[in-house]
């Protein structure tokens, strides 16, 4: 084999391998949406879906599912945040409403974002929210307090083995991030 042929072969193979490297770099980023899609389809990871429209035709009054609400705040968030109902029993298919209480005791206006999570993870597929404060960010002025409504229903298809679920909200302080984004947009 002449030197020229070897060099050409090397170049071809190197380019192909670099293609693999570039492809895998992009694949690393593609894992992000793939992961979200996978979790949404299978309902694992406890991520609830977005806004649902109530369209249950039948309420299963034979069954009762209990649901517990948890509210937590993360580091750097001075709000008080708690569910006004701790636990309730609901019939699958029936529309319910609960309220969460939030207060900004600080002297600054603060924007909060709550992130929901359902346990057990597979129950997330059957918990539908028609109205939730977690769909938007909340701005509380200094000292302001609010009661925030959340309407939900549990799909009557919920598997027999799930009799109890927990809906947890983690509240984050996103004031800096929102202001930074607003500043960047100007």
């Amino acid at each position: 084999m002449s030197e020229q042929v070897t060099n050409d072969n090397n170049k071809k193979l190197v380019l192909r391998l670099l293609g693999v490297v570039g492809g895998m770099f992009l694949f690393g980023f593609a894992l992000v949406p793939l992961y979200d899609v996978f979790c949404e389809v299978t309902g694992i990871n406890g991520k609830t879906r977005g806004k649902a429209i109530y369209q249950q035709s039948m309420v299963n009054t034979e069954r009762e599912v209990s649901i517990t609400f948890i509210a937590n705040i993360s580091n750097g968030m001075p709000w008080e945040f708690k569910p006004l109902t701790r636990t309730m029993k609901v019939h699958p298919g029936e529309l319910n409403e609960v309220r969460f209480y939030a207060k900004n005791p600080s002297r600054k206006d603060i924007i909060g974002q709550s992130v929901p999570s359902v346990s057990p993870g597979e129950a997330a597929l059957y918990l539908n929210k028609t109205e939730c404060f977690c769909f938007d960010q909340q701005t509380l002025l200094a000292g302001q307090e609010v009661e925030m409504p959340m309407k939900f229903y549990i799909d009557s298809e919920i598997p027999e083995n799930i009799n109890h679920l927990t809906l947890s909200y983690q509240l984050f302080n996103v004031t800096d991030a929102v202001e930074a984004a607003a500043g960047a947009a100007k």
């Binding site: 895998m24 770099f25 690393g28 980023f29």
Partner: protein, 517 residues
């Protein structure tokens, strides 16, 4: 061609010779091994007894983090690339690596990458302290300012590994001597080609992960930030998608080394050559679908736990094939026990112990007990120290005559072996027990009930550290004043580098390809 090359520092800066570059890789990894080892000594000194003795908890965390990073990326991986550079061209009858200039570059990135990483120890806020797995949000929201140096360092060493891997693949595919078919290649070459493919598949994913960290930290993205719609658990998925193949990147070349050395000293052909190749390839393929066994406790659904548990246990099958093949190679062989063979046999036995604890950890229901305990520490140190590092040590003793033309002192080699063998078990075996009893990893202080096991482990660790200094002494002594080696110091050794080349191997070898039949 004469042995013509520049002298002094220029020889090393500008060299494109695979032997020079191989030596630089090996010395670099040796230096990193001692730096990472010194950090391990700090860790073990602090853990010698309960309570806080020597260091602040935050500095302790920096030590565990840097120890892991330096050992994985600075010691084990470059040492394997060093062996590849030295051996692959000679073993396949090529004059050099296919891309010699890139080879030079991929080495010379490393000292800069690790200077960046190590410099973070002296920065305000200290070095990275979030563990070598740098889970978000510890490394994003809560990471020290020096995390950015860490990110850049990881990028650089990733580029270096990718270039090294591309070089290996191109060399093996395009530069084999006529007649050297794929299924005639020595197993070390085979394991390295498979390792190289793993490297080019997963190092870019690691680069993606640290890039996402960087943008999360400074550019307002929320890949791993729940407040912005991201997910910290996703970090673990991406990291371990890289991380699990990474552990095979570190061990497969050592499999290759054992598969060269055991037949040489058993004076028999390797048992089941083809099955060794296929087993290595299947381990590599399986490594892509088992990553979440590192995260059984994040709250996966049952189906996920089952899938990752079963897929992980499957890996025990090809690994078992390899272990049985090594044992079958030794079976009824005319064995002698020179130092390389001792290290190779210890590799087989101790790696198998590490493999067994791996199977235990693979069982999702019991992993809930073992997760993040010292049992995990015991497991991965058993596969890394007596696995990857004993493999490299065996390779150094075996090929040192080929590299330097000098023979090491056999008596000293045996002392080094027994010293390391006892010390490595004294260090890591008690960790199984403290782990099963519930001692968590990455803590500077612990409950009184773990005191005895930790004291044993610390004594073992100090002895192990000293034994490696003794290894350094043996290597330097061999190079400076070792007895001249015969051209074929091991009568059972086979392969082009032993059959066709003298000891030491000339600076340029196989300018005309050898005949392979």
């Amino acid at each position: 061609m004469a042995d013509h090359h520049p002298t002094g520092i220029k020889r090393w800066l500008f060299t494109t010779n695979h032997k020079d570059i191989g030596s630089m890789y090996l010395w670099f990894s040796f230096i990193m091994f001692f730096i990472g080892g010194a950090m391990a000594m700090v860790i073990r000194a602090e853990l010698y007894q309960p309570g806080l003795q020597f260091v602040e908890p935050n500095f302790f965390n920096q030590m565990t983090t840097m120890h892991g990073l330096i050992m994985v990326f600075g010691a084990v991986m470059p040492s394997m690339v060093g062996l590849a550079n030295w051996l692959i061209p000679m073993q396949i009858g090529a004059p050099d690596m296919a891309l010699p200039r890139m080879n030079n570059w991929s080495f010379w990135i490393l000292p800069f990458a690790f200077t960046l990483l190590l410099s973070s120890l002296f920065m305000e806020g200290g070095a990275p302290n979030f563990g070598w797995t740098f889970y978000a949000p510890l490394s994003t929201t809560y990471g020290p300012p020096s995390t950015d140096f860490f990110i850049l360092g990881v990028h650089m060493m990733g580029i270096s590994s990718i270039m090294g891997a591309i070089n290996v693949i191109v060399t093996v595919f395009n530069m084999r001597a006529p007649g050297m078919t794929l299924m005639k290649m020595p197993l070390f070459v085979w394991t390295w080609v498979i390792t190289a493919f793993l490297l080019i598949m997963v190092m870019p994913v690691l680069a993606g992960a640290v890039t996402m960290m960087l943008t999360d930290r400074h550019f307002g993205t929320s890949f791993f930030d729940a407040a912005g719609g991201g997910d910290p658990v996703m970090f673990q998925h991406i990291f371990w998608f890289f991380g699990h193949p990474e552990v095979y990147i570190m061990i497969l070349p050592a499999f290759g080394v054992a598969s060269e050395i055991i037949p040489a000293f058993a004076r028999k052909k390797l048992f089941g050559y083809a099955s060794m190749v296929y087993a290595t390839a299947s381990i590599a393929l399986l490594s892509f679908i088992v990553w979440a066994h590192h995260m059984f406790t994040v709250g996966m659904p049952l189906a996920g736990e089952l899938f990752f548990m079963i897929a992980t246990m499957l890996i025990a099958v090809p690994t078992g094939v390899k272990v049985f093949n090594w044992v079958a190679t030794m079976w009824k062989g005319s064995m002698t026990f020179e130092t390389p063979m001792l290290f190779a046999i210890a590799f087989v036995i101790l790696f198998t112990i590490g493999g067994f604890s791996g199977v235990m950890l693979a069982m999702a229901p019991v992993d809930f007990q073992y997760h993040d305990t010292y049992f995990v520490v015991a497991h991965f140190h058993y596969v890394l120290f007596p696995g990857a590092i004993f493999g490299t040590t065996a390779a150094v003793y075996y090929w040192l005559p080929k590299w330097t033309g000098k023979m090491y002192n056999e008596k000293m080699g045996k002392i080094h072996f027994w010293w390391s063998m006892i010390a490595v078990n004294l260090t890591f075996f008690p960790m199984h027990f403290s782990g099963l009893a519930g001692m968590p990893r990455r803590i500077p202080d612990y409950n009184m009930m773990f005191a005895d096991f930790n004291q044993l482990a610390s004594i073992g660790a100090f002895a192990l550290g000293l034994s490696q200094l003794f290894f350094l002494f043996i290597v330097i002594k061999t190079i400076r004043s070792g007895k001249k080696s015969e051209d074929k110091p091991w009568d059972g050794a086979t392969g082009l580098e032993w059959d066709k080349l003298p000891c030491p191997a000339p600076y340029h070898t196989f300018d005309t390809p050898p005949k392979v039949d």
